[in-house]
Structures are given as structure tokens and as C-alpha cells.
């Protein structure tokens, strides 16, 4: 048998996940909150749904149990707001592709950089973890 590692306290585990700067870890709480945002986004995998959505975004979203706040964020393509509302990037990516937006470019809209600046940062070796690891610890 394997050596069991000491079992972690669930409250400490979940608290740590909130201690990362600029990051929304997709916890069960977020998955519950954003369930219909993500299922709505998933529906855009089907061509006929993409057509209907593009024709009238508002009317298509009204068929889903999504809050007004989330609908506004979806209309504005405000992806950071959608992360806060429980959206997950792999689901939201269906909206990127509905818009014909390359993945990395869509990701760059969540940062404080333009797409060319973000692209250059990646070519230069990416964002450093230095100072980006912990909110409380500041390291």
C-alpha cells in the first residue's frame, strides 16, 4: 500500500484557492453559481444554436436560467466578470469560437494588456510567477 499523505482540512484547502492573484479557481461554489452560464455556452457547440444566438443574442439567452448580470456580461464579452459569476474558460471558449476569436487573443482580453502586447509577453517567456503567487504572502 501507499503512504497516505496527511488529509487536508477542506476549509483550509478552499481558502488557499482564493489566495492567488488575478485567478478564479473553478471551485464547486463557482461551478454551482455559473452552471447555466456554462451550459448556455456549451449549447453553442451546435451550429443551429450558434445561428440562433447570432441572430438575436438577447432572445437566445432569455431561454436560459441566467441572471441579468450574467446576460449583460455575456453581451459585453466581459470575461473577467463572467469568471466571477462562475463561468469557466473551457465553456466560455465556445463563445470565443462563435465570435471567431482565436483562443489566446480572447484570453488576452482578461489581462491589462492589448493583444499585441500580450503576444509579445508570451514570446518573451510569459508572465513571471514572481509576486504573482499569493495575495496574502505577497510573493
Amino acid at each position: 500500500m501507499t503512504n497516505a499523505s496527511p488529509r487536508q482540512n477542506i476549509h483550509e484547502y478552499l481558502a488557499e484557492l482564493e489566495d492567488i492573484p488575478g485567478t478564479r479557481v473553478f471551485t464547486a461554489a463557482r461551478a454551482r453559481k455559473g452552471y447555466w452560464i456554462n451550459q448556455f455556452a456549451m449549447s453553442l457547440m451546435k451550429a443551429e444554436n450558434r445561428e440562433r444566438f447570432k441572430e438575436d443574442e438577447r432572445a437566445y439567452m432569455d431561454e436560459w436560467a441566467i441572471s441579468e448580470e450574467a446576460k449583460a456580461a455575456l453581451l459585453a464579452r466581459d470575461y473577467n466578470a463572467l469568471l466571477d459569476l462562475g463561468g469557466n474558460v473551457y465553456f466560455l471558449a465556445k463563445l470565443f469560437s462563435t465570435d471567431g476569436l482565436p483562443f489566446a487573443e480572447a484570453v488576452s482580453t482578461m489581462t491589462d494588456m492589448s493583444w499585441p502586447e500580450y503576444r509579445q509577453m508570451m514570446l518573451d517567456g510569459g508572465r513571471s510567477p514572481e509576486g504573482n503567487r499569493s495575495i496574502k504572502g505577497g510573493y
Binding site: 484557492l17 474558460v89 489581462t111 510569459g126 510567477p129
Partner: protein, 280 residues
């Protein structure tokens, strides 16, 4: 008897599939990445595995939010490439090995791993990109595949320790399959990357290389890295690397490293791969 002859850990970035499908693998951007895989493609041509147990995660392609299996094993005859919003990749269908897969599934359940069984699904870039990186562009994939899908999206995802132990149990299951088969196990995903929020674009060359060092080591320290360390050091999507530990656990205590490669960047991601074989 079936036996696990080697393990491969590899990134599975979707853009690599685009590069293969559009013939861009020799340009300035992709050239250094594909050059790093050349050794491995030649090695695979010589090894001719009968079956690859391919550990990967689905990225909201086959599974939506309604059902979230932690560990799921594909026992079907055949899997089609998924449409991830840009039309399915024009790559061969993936042929399963239902006899071996069902044997592994049953063995794992009897060995206390409560697997979800999948009979039908489409497979996304997490599974087809590693096949393209190792085998290029054949008419048909040269081996059968047992897909092993891991939830690394909704927390809590399985611990590194549990992934390692699952690998050990997979090795026991393969060894008790009566047919003489050359089986490889691949762990895919990673390396450092973050695809969301203001911290998007984080990469960590130093940490990734330490992880590769730990995979080559003769002890199992790597299985005890906590989730929070992957998240802080390698970005929110760097957690995919726990899937490499299923591969590593299946190889036994000592391994020999045959090849290793690392490159930054590919799109938002650090690309790495390592080829290991069990060693007495």
C-alpha cells in the same frame, strides 16, 4: 502477458494540432517545438506499441457540466475527433481496445478505484494532439488507444498521490491481461499555463524543469506536491500535470529517461515532454 514498456509525458496544446493540420510545423514559431519531438517520433516508429493508455482531460467537449467523472475509462470500439467549435480535426478516428479496456476497468474497480465507464464519446485535442505529436500524419493511427479521462477542471481535482496510485493499479491490471501486448501509457497536459483572469499568461520554466527532474527520480516525492503549489507556481491550468503522475506511477519505482524536451512558448503554454521506461 501484456506489459507496460514505456511512459510518455507530454503537453497537448490545441495550437499544435492546428500547426500539424495546416502544415506549419517547420516555420520559425513551431519549428523548435516539432524538432524536440523528432526523436520521439522515430522512437515510436521503432517501438510499435500495440496499445496506448492515453491519460488526458476533456475540455468541455464530450462532457458538459451535467456529469463530472473524476476518473473515466473509454471501453468503446471507436472514438471520433470532437468538434471544438472550429469543425472536427481532420485526423483518423481513434480505435479503442475494448477487451483490454474492460479488463482494466474491472481490475481497477476490484482494486478500489471506482471508475466511470464510457462506451461512446468524441475525443478532443487533449487526446488527438499527443497522437499527432508522436505519430505525425498517418492514414490510420498505428496503435489502439484506451482513453483515460481525468477531471482537472472542477475542484477538487484528484490529488497527485491518488493519480500515482491509480497508475500503480493500472500497471497491475495490464500485467494480468493474458494477451501478449506492448502497452505504453501517456500522461498529457500542461506544462505551466494560465488561460484565465488578469494573471493569464503565467509560465514557469524553473518549476516545470524541476517537475521533469522529479519524474526521472527514483523516489515518489513528486506525488505529494499539493494542488496549491501547481496553482501558484504553474498557473491555473498547470494543474493538468497531475495527469502525468498516473503515467509515472504505472512505471514502478525506478525509471530510465530516454528523452526530454522543453520549449517556451506555444500560444499561452510551456511545452514539455519526457520519455521514460521502467528500469529494474
Amino acid at each position: 502477458m501484456a506489459r507496460i514498456t514505456a511512459g510518455v509525458g507530454s503537453s497537448h496544446v490545441p495550437l499544435l494540432g492546428v500547426a500539424v493540420d495546416q502544415g506549419k510545423w517547420q516555420d520559425d514559431y513551431f519549428g523548435p517545438i516539432f524538432a524536440g519531438y523528432e526523436w520521439t517520433r522515430e522512437w515510436e516508429r521503432q517501438q510499435k506499441p500495440d496499445v496506448v493508455i492515453l491519460v488526458y482531460n476533456d475540455h468541455a467537449s464530450a462532457f458538459d457540466a451535467s456529469i463530472i467523472p473524476t476518473f473515466a475509462i473509454g471501453c468503446g470500439e471507436k472514438y471520433k475527433p470532437a468538434d471544438e467549435g472550429w469543425g472536427p480535426r481532420q485526423v483518423p478516428d481513434v480505435e479503442g481496445h475494448p477487451d483490454l479496456a474492460w479488463h482494466i476497468a474491472q481490475s481497477l474497480i476490484l482494486d478500489d478505484f471506482d471508475m466511470t465507464i464510457i462506451n461512446e464519446m468524441d475525443v478532443d485535442h487533449g487526446l488527438t494532439v499527443p497522437l499527432s505529436m508522436m505519430f505525425g500524419q498517418p492514414e490510420a493511427w498505428p496503435c489502439k488507444v484506451v482513453p483515460l479521462a481525468v477531471n482537472v477542471v472542477t475542484y477538487p481535482v484528484p490529488s497527485g498521490n491518488r493519480c500515482w496510485a491509480l497508475g500503480e493499479a493500472i500497471a497491475r491490471a495490464v500485467e494480468s491481461f493474458p494477451e501478449d501486448l506492448n502497452v505504453q501509457i501517456w500522461g498529457t497536459g500542461g506544462m505551466s499555463h494560465q488561460l484565465q483572469g488578469p494573471r493569464a499568461g503565467l509560465l514557469n520554466r524553473e518549476w516545470d524543469n524541476r517537475f521533469l527532474d522529479l519524474l526521472e527520480a527514483d523516489d515518489d516525492a513528486v506525488r505529494f506536491i499539493p494542488h496549491i503549489e501547481y496553482l501558484r507556481e504553474t498557473g491555473s491550468e498547470g494543474i493538468e500535470m497531475v495527469m502525468w503522475l498516473i503515467m509515472r506511477g504505472a512505471l514502478g519505482q525506478r525509471v530510465k529517461r530516454l528523452h526530454r524536451h522543453y520549449h517556451i512558448p506555444c500560444s499561452n503554454t510551456a511545452i514539455g515532454h519526457i520519455v521514460l521506461e521502467p528500469s529494474a
